[in-house]
């Protein structure tokens, strides 16, 4: 297992609420379109904000923003704007187009946090090796995402601390996550209270 080192990242997990049930009830012919209409557009949004799409699995889209040592604040700002755009595009574009072609309404839920990740090659000789992004921040962000209701964004304390004041002011602390018997503060971000331009 080759280790490429540690790097600070913002991690975004965005998935479709109730996708398992929706897919079970969809005709097989429509399942690829259901995923495509959501995932493809999210990949493009993340790319537009200089993020990196990491390993799509089903309806789960994971975006990674690598934090440089200098000039890190614009990357943080890009990542939170990216999250707000994902939310708006899902609500006002993807979901409406989906319904117009007889697909179910699509609602996303998003979790995000900031932390240190390790980039490693996992694999064995003779089998294709791919780089993996590992670390507590990946696991914690997945748990944070679970705290989001449809259309909501939930973030961790470490990410909250790095946000611009405009965004901090629209955050509301909710019941903490319990991680290894320790409380970890998380926040809902109410983007409806901010002008996005």
């Amino acid at each position: 297992m080759a280790d490429h080192g540690s790097i600070e990242v913002v991690v975004i997990y965005a998935d479709i609420v109730g996708s398992t049930k929706i897919v079970n009830e969809l005709p097989e012919s429509k399942i690829p379109l259901f995923y495509k209409i959501y995932c493809n557009e999210l990949y493009k949004i993340i790319n537009d904000f200089k993020g990196f799409v990491y390993k799509p699995v089903g309806d789960e889209v994971i975006g990674i923003f690598f934090i440089p040592e200098t000039g890190w604040i614009p990357t943080i700002d890009n990542s939170i704007r990216c999250i707000s755009y994902i939310r708006y595009v899902t609500k006002y574009v993807i979901s409406q187009i989906a319904e117009s072609i007889s697909l179910p309404k699509i609602q996303c839920r998003i979790g995000a946090d900031y932390g240190v990740a390790q980039i490693v090659d996992i694999g064995v000789e003779g089998i294709k090796i791919s780089a993996e992004i590992l670390g507590n921040v990946m696991n914690v962000t997945a748990k944070i995402r679970e705290k989001s209701n449809p259309g909501e964004v939930t973030i961790g304390q470490k990410y909250y601390e790095q946000l611009h004041t405009d965004y901090k002011l629209i955050c509301k602390k909710i019941n903490p996550l319990i991680i290894n018997k320790t409380e970890y503060n998380i926040y809902h971000v109410n983007f409806d209270n901010i002008k996005n331009s």
Binding site: K36, N40, K44, D77, N78, V89, V93, Q162, T165
Partner: protein
């Protein structure tokens, strides 16, 4: 040694060219007053964060400001349209994608 990242957003109060100079500017900034308040604690000045309830004594604040020496002013935000324009672009992309 790797430094911990910290962030205090400031608002610009004054931006002026230094007279007689082509490329020197004087910028006056204060921590964003929506969040930061200058108070007196034990007879000493301190910046108080009303949102996160953090207190930074002025002496420490001055030390932090000095560490900014040599840090470049960067502007590398993604060039992305405002949300209204972006929604239009996105709608076209999605329709093209599924057609």
């Amino acid at each position: 040694m790797k430094r911990e990242k910290g962030r205090i957003d400031c608002v610009i109060q004054k931006f002026e060219r230094i007279p007689g100079s082509d490329n020197l500017f004087r910028i006056s900034m204060i921590p964003d007053p929506r969040v930061w308040e200058l108070i007196e604690e034990d007879g000493k000045e301190a910046w108080y964060n009303k949102l996160d309830h953090v207190l930074i004594p002025m002496e420490e604040f001055k030390k932090a400001v000095k560490t900014m020496k040599g840090i470049p002013i960067v502007m590398s935000n993604a060039k992305v349209e405002n949300i209204d324009e972006y929604l239009k672009k996105s709608e076209k992309r999605v329709k093209d994608d599924i057609s």
